[in-house]
C-alpha cells in the first residue's frame, strides 16, 4: 500500500500543473501581506469602524492589532473559501484524468484491487491537501509573523470582539490548520467520487465547485426553515468551524480564559460530521468504482 501511495504522490508532485495551486496561493498571500504592510492601518480603521459606536480604541491598541496573527486570520478567512477549487484540481483528476489519458488501464491491468486504488488515490489527495495547508501555514502564519511580528490576536465577530493573548494563539492556529485539513479532505473525497463517475477531469472539477458553491450559499442564507433542517447537515456549514478555535470563553469580569474554546462540542460535532461525509463519499466511490466498466 505504501509503495502504491508513493506512486500516486510521485505522479501528483511530478506534474507541473500541481504547482499552479501552490503558486496561486503564494500570489494571493503575498498580495494581501504587501497591501497590509503598506496600508495596514487603513484596513484596521475600516475593521474597527463598525464597532466604534460601542467601543473606544486607543492608538496603541490599533497599532498592536495589526500583527502577524491577525493577518494570518484574515488570509485564512479569504483563502479557505478558494482552496476547494485547488483541491478539486487534483482530486477531480485522480480517476477521470487517468481515464481520459488511458493510464487507468495501465493501473487496472495490474494485480491491485480497485478498492486499494481508490484508497490510495484518496490518501494521495489528502497528502496533497496537507501539503497545500503546510504551504499556506508557511506563507500566511510564518511569513506574516516574520513580517509583522506577534501580539495579542483580536478577532471581530458580529457579537463583539474576541481577544486572545499572544502566547495563547499559536496552538489555535495548529488546531485550525488541522481542522482545515479535514474540511478540505471532505472536498477531496467529494471530488474523487465525482471523478469516478466521469471520464474527463473537467466535469468533476466543475461539479465539485458547483456543489461547494451551492452548499455554501445555502449555508449562508438566512432562511429560518433551513437553519434547522438543511444547514446542520451541509458539509459546507461545518467547513468553517475552524473559526471556533478563535472564539474564547471569558470569566465573570469579562477577561478571556486562556486555552479556552467557547463551544468545543460544536467544533467536535462539525469534525465528526465532516469525517462522516468523508466516509460516505469514499464508500460510494469504492462501490461505484468496483462496478465501473473501463471503456477509455
Amino acid at each position: 500500500m505504501l509503495a502504491l501511495l508513493w506512486i500516486e504522490l510521485n505522479k501528483i508532485f511530478r506534474r507541473p500543473r500541481t504547482y499552479i495551486a501552490f503558486g496561486a496561493m503564494a500570489a494571493i498571500v503575498w498580495l494581501i501581506q504587501l497591501a497590509l504592510y503598506f496600508d495596514g492601518q487603513a484596513y484596521v480603521d475600516l475593521l474597527l469602524s463598525n464597532l466604534s459606536g460601542s467601543f473606544e480604541f486607543s492608538d496603541l491598541f490599533k497599532t498592536q492589532l495589526l500583527n502577524g496573527y491577525l493577518i494570518c486570520f484574515v488570509i485564512l478567512n479569504t483563502l479557505l473559501i478558494q482552496m476547494p477549487l485547488l483541491v478539486a484540481l487534483v482530486a477531480g483528476d485522480a480517476i477521470a484524468g487517468e481515464a481520459s489519458q488511458g493510464t487507468l488501464r495501465f493501473q487496472l491491468t495490474r494485480p491491485i484491487s480497485r478498492t486499494q486504488l481508490i484508497l490510495v488515490k484518496f490518501l494521495a489527495s489528502s497528502v496533497y491537501v496537507i501539503a497545500l495547508l503546510l504551504w499556506l501555514a508557511l506563507l500566511a502564519l510564518l511569513g506574516s509573523v516574520l513580517l509583522f511580528g506577534t501580539n495579542d490576536l483580536v478577532v471581530l465577530r458580529s457579537t463583539g470582539i474576541e481577544q486572545m493573548q499572544m502566547d495563547d494563539v499559536f496552538w489555535r492556529y495548529l488546531a485550525a490548520f488541522g481542522f482545515a485539513a479535514v474540511a478540505l479532505t471532505t472536498v477531496a473525497a467529494l471530488s474523487l467520487l465525482l471523478s469516478v463517475l466521469a471520464d474527463n477531469p473537467i466535469g468533476p472539477i466543475i461539479a465539485t465547485m458547483s456543489v461547494v458553491i451551492v452548499f455554501t450559499i445555502l449555508s449562508e442564507m438566512n432562511i429560518p426553515i433551513y437553519d434547522t433542517t438543511v444547514k446542520p447537515w451541509l458539509f459546507t456549514t461545518h467547513m468553517v468551524a475552524w473559526k471556533g478555535f478563535f472564539y474564547v470563553q471569558a470569566d465573570a469580569e469579562g477577561t478571556t480564559i486562556r486555552g479556552s474554546i467557547e463551544n468545543l462540542p460544536a467544533v467536535f460535532r462539525s469534525l465528526v460530521i465532516l469525517l462522516g461525509y468523508i466516509a460516505f463519499f469514499l464508500g460510494i466511490s469504492i462501490y461505484l468504482f468496483k462496478r465501473k466498466d473501463i471503456l477509455t
Binding site: Q101, G102, L108, S113, D293, L295
Partner: protein, 311 residues
C-alpha cells in the same frame, strides 16, 4: 491439452447493444492465440473482460484454473497486457514508467533488471527520455516492456501492431515469436489483419459482430486441401462441363458471368487449368486463397461492400 484460459458463454451488453454474444473458447498453455475480427467485432471488449476492465453481463472466465471473478489479483499477478493502445505517463521517463508498472505488480526490480527489460524491447538508449517524446512504435514497445516486467505466464496484446511502420510491425512480430518460442509464454494477440495473425498465431478465433464465427488451429485452417480458387473465365457450357466433371472440386460458386469460386485442393489447380484449356475455355485469371482468407474476406466484404453473405 493444457488449458490456460477457459471462457464459457461470455456476453456483454451495453444497454441494448450486444458487444459480445455467448462466446466460448479455450487457450492452451504455450500457444499464440489469435483474435481476429474487424474493428467493432468485440475483440477489445473480450480482452477487457479477460483483464477485468469490463464486467461481463453473463458467462464465466477461468484463468490458470481459477475463477477470474474471485481470484482477480492472484491471476493478474501472472498476466501482462497492453489493451488497445499503450498509455503511459508522458512526463515520466521510460525507466520510471517501467518501475511504476513493476511496483504496481508488487515487485521491486533493480535498475539493471529494468534496463535489461528496456534492452529487450530496444529502448535502453532512451531509458531516461520522457515518454511524451516517443514515437508510436516506441510507445508500443514500452507497453510490451511494462506488460512483461513481472515475467507473466500469459500475455495479452490488443492490436499490438496498430500505427506501426513496416519495420515496427516486423519487430513486434519477432518479439511475439521470441516470447512464445524462446520463453514459452502463452499469448493472446488480437488484430483486424489476417496477414498479421496468420504469421504469428498457432490457433485462431474469428469474431464478427460479437459472435464467434470460426475457431481452430492455424495448421488446420490453412490446410492446402481447403483452397478457394477464384477463376475469371467465360460462363459457358464447356466451362460447366469441365467444372462438373472434375471430381476434385468440392463446391462451385458463380459470382456473375465471369467470376467463379471453386473449393478444391491446391495441388490440383494445374489439372483444372489444363482441363479448361483442353475444353477451349479462355481463363483470364486464377487466384488461389486458402479457405480462411477467403472466409475472412467474405466476412469483411459483407460489412463494407455489396456481396453475398457467407453464413
Amino acid at each position: 491439452m493444457d488449458p490456460l484460459v477457459r471462457v464459457s458463454h461470455l456476453s456483454k451488453h451495453f444497454g441494448s447493444f450486444e458487444a459480445v454474444r455467448d462466446l466460448s473458447f479455450v487457450v492452451e498453455r504455450g500457444q499464440v492465440y489469435g483474435f481476429l475480427g474487424q474493428n467493432g467485432a468485440g475483440k477489445s471488449t473480450t480482452l477487457r473482460m479477460l483483464m477485468t476492465l469490463i464486467r461481463p453481463s453473463s458467462g464465466h472466465i477461468e484463468v490458470f484454473g481459477l475463477d477470474l471473478n474471485r481470484h482477480r489479483t492472484e491471476i493478474l499477478r501472472q498476466v501482462g497486457a497492453v489493451i488497445e493502445k499503450p498509455d503511459h505517463y508522458g512526463y515520466l521517463s521510460a525507466l520510471e514508467n517501467l518501475r511504476m508498472a513493476a511496483v504496481l505488480c508488487g515487485i521491486h526490480p533493480t535498475r539493471d533488471k529494468l534496463m535489461q527489460q528496456l534492452e529487450f524491447v530496444g529502448l535502453a538508449d532512451r531509458a531516461k527520455s520522457p515518454v511524451r517524446t516517443f514515437s508510436q512504435g516506441m510507445k508500443q514497445r514500452l507497453g510490451i516492456a511494462t506488460a512483461l516486467v513481472h515475467d507473466p505466464s500469459l500475455i495479452i496484446l490488443d492490436e499490438p501492431t496498430n500505427g506501426l511502420d513496416p519495420q515496427g510491425i516486423a519487430d513486434i512480430r519477432e518479439l511475439i515469436r521470441q516470447l512464445s518460442r524462446e520463453q514459452g509464454k502463452t499469448l493472446i494477440v488480437s488484430s483486424h489483419l489476417l496477414s498479421e495473425i496468420e504469421l504469428i498465431a498457432d490457433s485462431l478465433l474469428i469474431l464478427h459482430r460479437g459472435e464467434k464465427r470460426m475457431e481452430g488451429k492455424m495448421s488446420d485452417l490453412l490446410n492446402p486441401a481447403e483452397t478457394v480458387v477464384e477463376l475469371e473465365l467465360e460462363h459457358s457450357s464447356p466451362t460447366d462441363a469441365v467444372l462438373n466433371a472434375s471430381d476434385f472440386i468440392q463446391s462451385i460458386d458463380w459470382r456473375g458471368d465471369q467470376q467463379c469460386c471453386v473449393r478444391m485442393a491446391k495441388n490440383r489447380i494445374p489439372d483444372l487449368i489444363r482441363s479448361l484449356a483442353d475444353a477451349g475455355v479462355s481463363v483470364y485469371s486464377v487466384r488461389a486463397r486458402h479457405s480462411l482468407e477467403y472466409y475472412f474476406l467474405q466476412l469483411t466484404q459483407t460489412e463494407t461492400h455489396v456481396g453475398p453473405a457467407v453464413d
